[in-house]
Symmetry: C2
Subunit: 309 residues, 2 copies
């Protein structure tokens, strides 16, 4: 068996595992994300551990697939990554040189999309899109069975404009979707409603996305109104993405998707209701992601598998 | 030589011509658009004229490609067309049965996109998008060299939401791009500024898109402010479309594109400035359409050519 080493490079930690062809992880190893100068060195120790796992399982490691936040060019350069504090760094080439194995690097939202498509909530369709709700909005798409990332892999679905002339976005534009529909946006919205309703249970705890969902479940008025406003914001961007890409399935991932149907059901109703001609002539499923935290590793490995097929 | 008969079915008139493999029109024949019951009959007389043109040129007619406004399913049914007052009509099958020639039917915005891609402003790239500014906003895309129309051809790019919670759209949603960026929207916006500035030259004429452009050229303040607001509206939707599809080229068509660089230059500056990471890492051209009124016929024929290759 030939495994692929999948590596998920995050802003605070790095996770790596040898991954079998059917998407199974042999063993996850982790390390803190170091400064850029020490990154290849830390990756080296992780790759060595993963290789040993592969050998122990009677397998080999045939390629390395890495995923990271930021704008990654099609040839695997980190053009810009806020989280990794990197700019124009040819990480893919550095790692490939070190290990003499075919190596790829892909944006983490695209990795998650590919993982869901191959092994998770995206199986069985040829056209899907995925939204990952976190500090920002990650977005990816599969078109005709192939990962689609746009020219030089610069697709940035989180930056569609839903509120023209609205809040300043970090990207320099105004009114971007992620300013209204990220987990950070939900927290901002919930804080506003908590102030409006001093009796709200939201005032008694640290406000996180899942805390808001808990309060909705308990019937809290501030939380319910906040969630309704947030779902409209998230839904408006999903309507836009669906009207352009018209996928068969939309997968929603990120921490908030842990709230499950409480959150997905009203979102589904909102989007199907506002989407062009609804789902009458072109059905659309809206479902929760299934791959959880392993999506980054598995998707990175899945992307690398193209190089050895 | 084998020609294809291209037919552009509009709300008020039908235009048809035999089209050579390199996109040349032999002779355009036109007819008024009749009621649904008489449509196939009118198409029959047009097809007969086009066939005669082909024979006269020493060629044959190998297929029929039709384009029409509305939502056309992948298998060529008119699911819904406001302009043609049709619903669930299997126009493609009716015509194919009549003429015993391979026949296709495609949405008119998709036809225009394909015409520009093959023979016009879209040549030389593999990923492009096209916006057609008219009563609404038509939208089409080519991805990896193939026309992309979404599940069951239901892509509706004019209905991305740019102004969440904004104006009611005919589609049942609110704040759709086409409510803010169609030619009708420009006229509405210009009327507002004409009222605000009674001395404006706009008050002396019938307000059309090109009339507004003429007044901008003459230095009229109301027209200039209206155009600026309109370009921001059009630009915000183009930013969204570009951030999702990240094409190499965006082609702008419709009557207003006749205003040329007066209109395209500020639009280009607006979009490149707001687009995610600008064009630094993934260049984007924004250009005027080149195919003019023949785009519908040529694109319809180009789409049909797939059936006989």
């Amino acid at each position: 068996m030939r495994t692929i080493i999948g590596i998920d490079i995050g802003g605070t930690s790095i996770k790596a595992s040898a991954v079998s062809p059917n998407g199974r992880l042999l063993c996850i190893h982790t390390a803190e994300t170091p400064k850029q100068e020490e990154l290849v060195c830390v990756l080296e120790s992780l790759v060595r551990l993963c290789k040993a796992d592969a050998v122990e399982a009677g397998a080999s490691a045939a390629a390395i697939g890495m995923g990271s936040p930021g704008i990654i060019s099609t040839d695997g350069k980190v053009l810009f990554s806020n989280n990794l504090r990197m700019r124009n760094f040819d990480l893919r080439a550095e790692v490939e040189k070190k290990f003499q194995l075919p190596t790829s690097l892909l944006n983490d939202a695209f990795c998650a999309t590919l993982a869901e498509y191959r092994f998770g909530a995206g199986r069985g369709v040829k056209n899907m899109a995925m939204v990952t709700i976190g500090t920002g909005i990650g977005f990816g798409a599969v078109i005709n069975g192939e990962l689609f990332t746009g020219t030089n892999s610069c697709m940035a679905g989180g930056h569609i404009i839903t509120h023209a002339g609205g809040l300043d976005c970090t990207c320099g534009s105004k009114g971007c979707w992620e300013m209204y529909a990220s987990a950070s946006a939900l927290i901002r919205i919930a804080k506003g409603y908590a102030q409006k309703y001093p009796e709200s249970a939201l005032n008694a705890k640290e406000i996180t996305g899942l805390a808001v969902a808990d309060c909705v479940r308990a019937g809290d008025r501030a939380a319910s109104e906040a969630m309704q406003e947030y779902i409209a914001n998230l839904g408006d961007g999903m309507v836009s993405a669906c009207n352009i890409l018209r996928p068969e399935r939309m997968v929603v991932g990120g921490g908030l998707s842990g709230a499950g149907e409480l959150f997905i059901e009203p979102l589904r109703e909102y989007v199907l209701n506002k989407m062009f001609i609804g789902a009458d002539y072109a059905p659309l499923d809206i479902v929760c992601a299934q791959m959880g935290n392993a999506a980054g590793i598995i998707g990175a490995a899945a992307y690398a598998s193209r190089m050895i097929e």
